[in-house]
Structures are given as structure tokens and as C-alpha cells.
Symmetry: C2
Subunit: 421 residues, 2 copies
């Protein structure tokens, strides 16, 4: 009556098999600077220019030759002749500071030739149009940032693999770069299977339900930085599934994720398609929910088969797919947020399978209380109510009321403060 699972394996065995069969995503893309945010640098970044690109005034004041100021004090000023002014952004033209001369400069302005320092505006008095009385001496180099002092052209600034965020965008912009070579994102194709499934937004005919997994898994993939496409709902038909899978592979998707049709019953044909097109490597894991999880390679493209029930699909996605995506996109193993909680009412668990028990959390005066979310993996209410999971070991059958447990929180848990009207 029923098909067969391969030998049921543990979560850790399954993860090892998956890791061993997923290759890094190669290749790069060149994107406009602002679109590089959230991406990964494809190659070492060597500074294409010196920063600053010229000797630059660090203060508002006067560019002078420092020896001309030696001996100046508050009591006994020294007179210099102001021969010009350079504002930030101005070219210096042929301006050259001779002995006894000064050029007014603004912060950020290019320093004219032969000046070696900037006297701050506070330490001088301007007299008339072109005379200056200097009340302090300056040292050579004072208040000047020399060309290349900040960043030297050719320096290796950011390493291949660096995650690009606002700060890196600022650095790249300062270097004048507007096109950035970033790691290609993994192209992931999402397919839902099931004769009973209808697209959200369509009319629901008798016997049909709306597909939750297609968009949910696609959203989760996009959040992980993948280039994800939900290519649609298909029927439980060997030919249709095989054809869809073959075209996804030939269109160059790096990974295919299919939900539904993974169990070993009569109508479940995914495992046969994977066997016929390639190699079925995992079929059945000692995890609850999520036992019918499936993994294989079809023409070297990894195929993940998630159970059709939304909660099972989400839990197997987080357990097996998410770590792979984090590796491929370079976002690294994400830390799951965890909280300690006390079990509010006895929880029964299945022996022989590690159980990820959905719980909701309540705050109390004695701390956080975790209650099992009943409703099961087929219920949308479970998806709605769960704040996180408790991991219950294969050999544990009962978690008693009052036991302290660690809860792995769902991303985006709970409601935000209400929006003002």
C-alpha cells in the first residue's frame, strides 16, 4: 500500500550528507554601488586612488610656509601677505605661496604649492584685503593631510568575501567606485506540488486549499539573500513533476526546493522522479515534524523535498536549507535567538525522533513560560501561534511542567508596537 522510505537517519547525518553534496556558487555580477548593499565582495578590493587625492587643509585658516611663522606670539605678531583664497573643491591653478605669503584656505581645500602647513583662523587677524597678522607659529605639516595619508592607492582594503553594508558602501563611494563586483547569488527555484493547491488570489474551487508554502519559502529564501523564484503550483503527476524539474535544471537554477509529495504514500511521486533523474540521497529523517524530508541530486543540482504541511515545511527548511543558504551567500551561520523558559504544562513527545515542538511564550512574574502549540503541523494556527521551538531529544517522551527549557525563537516573532493611527 505504501511506498518506502530510505533508512531513517538523524538530523546530523542528514546535514552531513547535504553539506557534502552542495558546491559553492561560483561567478560574479557587477552591480551599481547602491545595489551592492547586502551583497558579498567577489574579489579583494585594492584602492584605485589615493585618499585624500591631494594635500588637504584640515582646518579653516591660512596655508603658509612654516618658517615664516617662527617667533610669532600673541604679544608679537608677524605680518604675512594674503595672495589668494582656496575653497574646498577649488583648483589651485598656479597659486604658489612665496616667502612671507599666505593663502586663505577652507577645511578640505587643496593646499597650494610650497605651503607646508595651515595656521588656524583663530590665531591670525586679517587686516584689510591682503594683510594678515599671525600670533602663533605652526610646525611643518600642521593641519594638513597629505595625499595618500588616509588610503594609499593599491592598498588591499576589503577582502574577498566581505559583506557589504552601509559602511562599506561609504568606503567604496569615497574611492569613486560606482560599479561593484559581487558574488553571484544562488538562484533557487521553488515549486509547490499538490492537486489540492490553488494560488492565493484565485477563486477556491471545491476541495481545494490555498498554497501557503510557495510564497512562504520564497520569502524565507529572499530574506537569506538568495535570488529566489516561485515558479508555481504543479499537480501530483510524475510527468508534470519530472518535466518541471528538468526545465528548472536546464534553466540554470542552482537549487530546487519542492514542497509536498515527499512522503512514501501512493500519491507521492517526487522520490521516484529524483531517483530517475539522478540520485536520491536522503528520504526520511528522524525529526518531528518533518520526517518525509527528502534530498537528492538531479544532474548535479541539489533538490530539497519539504513536506507539504506548512509547519513541517518551515521546520525542515530552517533545519536543512537555511544553513546551506547561509553558507552559499556568505552570510555565515546565523545565530538563532534563544530564551530560557519554564514549561507551563506537560509536553508529550515522540520517541525515536528528535522533536521540534512549537511553543508559544507568555511573560509572567516568574519569567517566560512556554506552552505547547496544539493544532499540529497541518494547522495554519500553529504557524500563527508559535513563538519558537523546544528541541526534544530522541529518547525523551515527556517534558514535565516546571522544567526549564531553551526556546529557539522564530525570526520576526510576535507583534510590533501598534502603529499610531
Amino acid at each position: 500500500m505504501s511506498g518506502r522510505f530510505l533508512r531513517l537517519i538523524t538530523i546530523d547525518e542528514a546535514r552531513r550528507i547535504i553539506d557534502a553534496n552542495i558546491q559553492a556558487i561560483g561567478g560574479f555580477e557587477i552591480v551599481p554601488l547602491i545595489e551592492a548593499d547586502g551583497r558579498i565582495l567577489f574579489e579583494d578590493l585594492h584602492a584605485p586612488v589615493d585618499l585624500p587625492p591631494f594635500n588637504r587643509a584640515l582646518m579653516d585658516g591660512y596655508a603658509v610656509r612654516s618658517p615664516d611663522t617662527f617667533g610669532a606670539t600673541e604679544e608679537k605678531g608677524i605680518r604675512l601677505k594674503v595672495i589668494g583664497e582656496i575653497r574646498a573643491g577649488d583648483a589651485i591653478e598656479d597659486l604658489e605661496v612665496g616667502r612671507g605669503e599666505a593663502v586663505e584656505v577652507a577645511t578640505g581645500a587643496r593646499i597650494p604649492e610650497r605651503a607646508d602647513s595651515v595656521l588656524m583662523v583663530e590665531f591670525a587677524d586679517r587686516v584689510g584685503e591682503d594683510e594678515l597678522i599671525v600670533y602663533r607659529h605652526v610646525a611643518p605639516g600642521e593641519n594638513i593631510q597629505m595625499r595618500g595619508d588616509d588610503i594609499r592607492r593599491g592598498e588591499n582594503l576589503l577582502r574577498r568575501g566581505t559583506g557589504i553594508h552601509a559602511r562599506e558602501i561609504g568606503i567604496l563611494a569615497a574611492l569613486g567606485m560606482d560599479q561593484i563586483k559581487v558574488l553571484r547569488r544562488p538562484r533557487v527555484c521553488v515549486i509547490s506540488t499538490g492537486n489540492e493547491l490553488e494560488y492565493p488570489g484565485r477563486e477556491l474551487r471545491e476541495g481545494k486549499i490555498f498554497d501557503a508554502n510557495g510564497y512562504m519559502i520564497t520569502a524565507a529564501l529572499l530574506e537569506l539573500g538568495a535570488d529566489a523564484s516561485f515558479i508555481g503550483v504543479i499537480r501530483d503527476s510524475y510527468d508534470e513533476l519530472r518535466g518541471t524539474l528538468e526545465s528548472a535544471i536546464s534553466e540554470g537554477f542552482d537549487i530546487v526546493i519542492i514542497s509536498g509529495g515527499t512522503s512514501a504514500g501512493r500519491g507521492d511521486i517526487l522520490y521516484r522522479v529524483v531517483e530517475d533523474l539522478g540520485e536520491l540521497l536522503i528520504h526520511g529523517v528522524r525529526i518531528k515534524p518533518g520526517k518525509p524530508f527528502l534530498f537528492g541530486l538531479c544532474r548535479d543540482v541539489p533538490i530539497f523535498g519539504l513536506p507539504g504541511y506548512p509547519v513541517s515545511a518551515m521546520i525542515t527548511f530552517e533545519t536543512f536549507v537555511e544553513p546551506v543558504l547561509q553558507r552559499l551567500t556568505g552570510t555565515g551561520p546565523g545565530e538563532k535567538k534563544r530564551v530560557k523558559a519554564t514549561v507551563g504544562a506537560r509536553i508529550h513527545s515522540a520517541k525515536g525522533r528528535q522533536e521540534l515542538m512549537p511553543v508559544r511564550l507568555e511573560d509572567s512574574s516568574e519569567g517566560v513560560i512556554a506552552y505547547q502549540v496544539h493544532g499540529g503541523s497541518g494547522a495554519i494556527r500553529t504557524l500563527l501561534d508559535l513563538d519558537g521551538y523546544i528541541r526534544i531529544g530522541e529518547e525523551v517522551e515527556i517534558v514535565e511542567e516546571g522544567e526549564e527549557v531553551e526556546v529557539e525563537l522564530r525570526v520576526g516573532r510576535g507583534n510590533l508596537p501598534p502603529v499610531p493611527p
Copy 2:
């Protein structure tokens, strides 16, 4: 020689003034389901349908009338007549289960009329085409999920203000919703000012530097969920700045962020424009770097003026703008990640201003060591090297080597593991 600051105020005073002058963003947008990811629900979501939408089989088996199975045991089976089959997604047509009859059903299938339970496939033997021997009795309702059992039509499922992530996408999809009413994102306009600034990607003429702030601030805003536009680099000209600001306001931006031209020197004209177009509420904060920070209202539109140096711009952005955006986008006050560290070498700080001292972190056998990043707020190297900040109080002038401090980490700190070749 120099202009004037308003009275210098503390960070907390500045935050209070800003908070009191920023209104919630009103209005909504309707977006396709997948684009609702990362957005905020605009109104309470009432379930538009019952889930499941029909009485549904929870197991593969036979839909029966439970009284027909009473008395069945493993030793003494009861015979029923199989009158049809319903798979998941099938309409039931006019199928009705009479006395002594059974209909084969798959998990997820609609239950035919007059059947009240599903006998699991394991507890029956099929004999020939249409005969069934039943070896167990079933209770009314067994293995059936009734219409609306999971979600009742009209129920308030998700509250206004809920952040939408993959899980919520799944719930909305299951309810058949493909168009979602979400809170409008704040439209923020970013402007860089400075005669010395050139766009990344352009040729750098003499005396010019590339603008780092425009794209950096825009990226930071996008990361916070704003609808941010970098509208360009403008010159230090009263007329140009005033004209740009007026058109930004009339184009309906909710917030304007300008970097550069905030200090009180000769060339700094932003504060005058803000005074002339509206009200200058903050000009000068006891923070280092970032003292020339400016805030005002022009025709009720909040204007933030950030200093031109990239590090100062980033620090004032994080201190004053980021909390506002987190409030407006409903992403809530973000938690800054912090680590404890030991100061590796004495740090001098300015008295009278709270200093956010950029530090880089090194791991050592005795824990994390924090070193001051020299280079100053004008240096791109500071932007590159800093892993976080130490907050040094207004009255503290020296932080000694060996002192334990708390470091606020930058988002996206450090390099990720190298990308495989």
C-alpha cells in the same frame, strides 16, 4: 569670522526635541504578497475564509459512518462497500456515504456527505474492487478536521502593526490573500552638499573628492526599511540648497537628510536656509564627533543636517536618525550588539562632550581588546577600521589601559569567512 551655534545641548535633549517633532507616517500601500515581506501590516487582518474550507481527511483511509464500524476488531472484521475514491483536491460531486458504505480518501481530501470519520488505511483490508474489511471502530470526528476548525472566518488573526516575514507570508497565502495592505514606508530624501564633492564613477577633477555620504546614508536608510532616494550632490550655495530643499518638500518627502554644510563657519549655509524656510530647532550637540549636527522643520518636514565627514555623518545618523526610522517603520528600537572589551592603550577624550570613540577589536587569550582608531572623523580609514564605539561620558578625559569597557558593535562588522574559489 564664524557663524554661531544655537546653545550646545546634550544627546538626550536633542533626542527629545527630535521625537517631539516627528509625526508618524500615515497612509498605506497595497502590494503583491511577496513584496509584503519586511513590511508592516496596516490594519487588523480578519480571516476572509474558513480554514480548512471544507471537512478534510487528516489521514489516508476510508470515509465512513462511525456506527457502521462499531464492534469491528482484529479478530472479527466488518464488511463495507467501497463506492468511490476522493483524492486531495477532488470535488466530491454528489458522493454520499450510505449505511454500510465507505469512500476511499487521501490525506487532505474533502470528506463526502454523511461520512463522519476516517478509518486509517492500516486498519482495513481491501478485497477486490469494492469490498472493504474493517478491523477497528472509529469515533465520530476521528481523523477529520472540520471546516473552520483551524481558522474561523472573521477571526482577527494578525494585528495592525505586525511585521510581515516569511511566516506571515505563509499565513496570508493560506488565507488566499495576494494583495496586502501595508504601512507606507517613510520617503526619505538624501542630499550631499559641498563644492568639493564629485559623484563616484565620475572623473575626479583637481581639488575634488568623491562623495561618500550620499550612498552610505541612502544604504543605511534602505536597510532600515525606508524608501530612500539619494537626489544628488549640490554646491555650497544658499540659493541652490534652498531650491533643492523646497522642491524636496513639495515632492512629498517625509524627511530630508542633508550632509555637509552644517557647521557654523562662513561657507555653512544650511542653518540659514532652515531658519528662513522654517524653524531651526537644534544646531550643535555635545557629542564628538558630530557637534555640528542640526535639526529643524521646514513646512513641517523634518530636516536632519549631518556633518560632512563620513565618520561624523555615520555616528550622528546612528544616534539621531536611526531611532526615528525604527519608530516610523515599526521595526522598533533595534538592539545594538555589545561586547565587553579591555582597553589596549590609554584613550584621551574631549571634556564637555560625550565622545563616541571609534575602536577596533582584537581577540586575545585574555579576551577582546579595544584600541582607539586614530585617523579622525575625516578619514575613510576610520570608517574601514572601526569595529564599534566606546561611549565616553562628558566628564571623562582619560580611559586607562586595562579598563573594562562596553563596545557598541557596528552592524556588518568585520569580514565574513572567505568565499571559496
